[in-house]
Symmetry: C2
Subunit: 222 residues, 2 copies
């Protein structure tokens, strides 16, 4: 059995491992907003349960079992986000907080019903993949908009970060998943870009925003 607290550690570990190779105690402490000694003792506990590989002073890694458990929590989180947006009319900037709580509900049929009602979606409202019921997460080959060149036409497919502020920024610019962006110009000096899409023929985007917008070619399916 995994407690709510343990689930949060596993989830944080999978999310961090996704972004970088090695996860250390300090990072975990930061994302979970707890102190380092608390992390150390939890790592010992999770290692006992065979959910992480942990040795003092070494980077932390999830075991396969730990990865699977983490992925299943993330599955519940992302299904919930999708349900809140698609079936309950919430904005994509509102759903994270609610899903953060709903993800710990223990009821397979509740989430399977959500999945059915949604038609087995493959991604959540922010474009992140929804792990399947075995914990497998489909790979995605999106690239940040910042890697694009002038003249490229790309489809906005996902977001690298989904903070409320970023989502509200995107709302304010009518930027939604699925829209096609054309790169009008780039500014090598600071990495910013100007893009065109829908009713925005001339929208400037900071380097930071461009790095967080994940795109692919418009003919791609996902």
């Amino acid at each position: 059995m995994t407690s709510l607290t343990e689930e949060n550690y596993l989830k944080a570990l999978l999310n961090l491992a996704d972004a970088q190779e090695h996860v250390n105690v300090k990072q975990l402490a930061q994302v979970l907003e707890i102190k380092m000694p608390t992390v150390t003792s939890m790592m010992k506990k999770l290692a006992e349960k065979k959910l992480v590989h942990y040795e003092s002073y070494k980077p932390i890694k999830l075991t396969n079992q730990g990865k699977k458990l983490a992925a299943l929590v993330i599955r519940k989180h992302r299904l919930t986000e999708m349900y809140l947006v698609e079936k309950m009319g919430f904005g994509w900037e509102e759903v994270h907080e609610i899903a953060e709580q709903v993800e710990h509900i223990n009821s397979p049929k509740f989430f399977e019903r959500m999945d059915e009602l949604l038609g087995h979606p493959r991604v959540d409202p922010h474009g992140s993949p929804i792990p399947d019921h075995t914990g497998k997460i489909s790979e995605q080959d999106y690239r940040p908009l910042s890697k694009g060149l002038v003249g490229d036409e790309v489809k906005l497919a996902a977001l690298a970060h989904s903070s409320t502020e970023f989502l509200e920024f995107l709302n304010s610019r009518d930027l939604k998943l699925g829209i096609v962006l054309k790169i009008i110009s780039t500014e090598p000096y600071d990495g910013s870009m100007v893009v065109a899409y829908e009713k925005h023929p001339n929208e400037p985007l900071s380097a930071k925003a461009c790095e967080r917008l994940l795109v692919n070619h418009p003919d791609k399916t996902s």
Copy 2:
């Protein structure tokens, strides 16, 4: 702030107080499936927080504030049950367990949205009233079917108990809220009845079942 655990005590207190005048430590321990000393110490804590009136060896009562908090948890529980049945297609016998977890989610807008999508329902799938957002619970004047007389025609309006087994029994007899029952005969000896409704011209019901079926006159609105 009230913890999940505290919420469960408050809810149990309101539910028990509903059924009987005085609530004691033993009953609380039983419904919460914990030991009596645990109840005693929690009562002291809740008394400190002004959520219950508690003195050693005396019956336990909720304060007005405690009642309100309990009612708001029950509101979330019942809205959730209604949502699960009406919007997600669950059977009334499946929803209690899920709602028991969802009720602790802290997100006013999540429950307000449910309420809106449901059209502000006044009762849950078992006929129990849904407290309003101030914690007020509407009174209901149903009577148990067992008090009815031969020849009475009554509408099934609510259930006095909603255990899974009872709900499955009702399913097996096509007994649903809203149907009109006619009392064909009564058996003074053991309190059982025979009733007629829809495609069941001759259904025998035990005394226990008759006590748990709450009815009113078919012309009444609720």
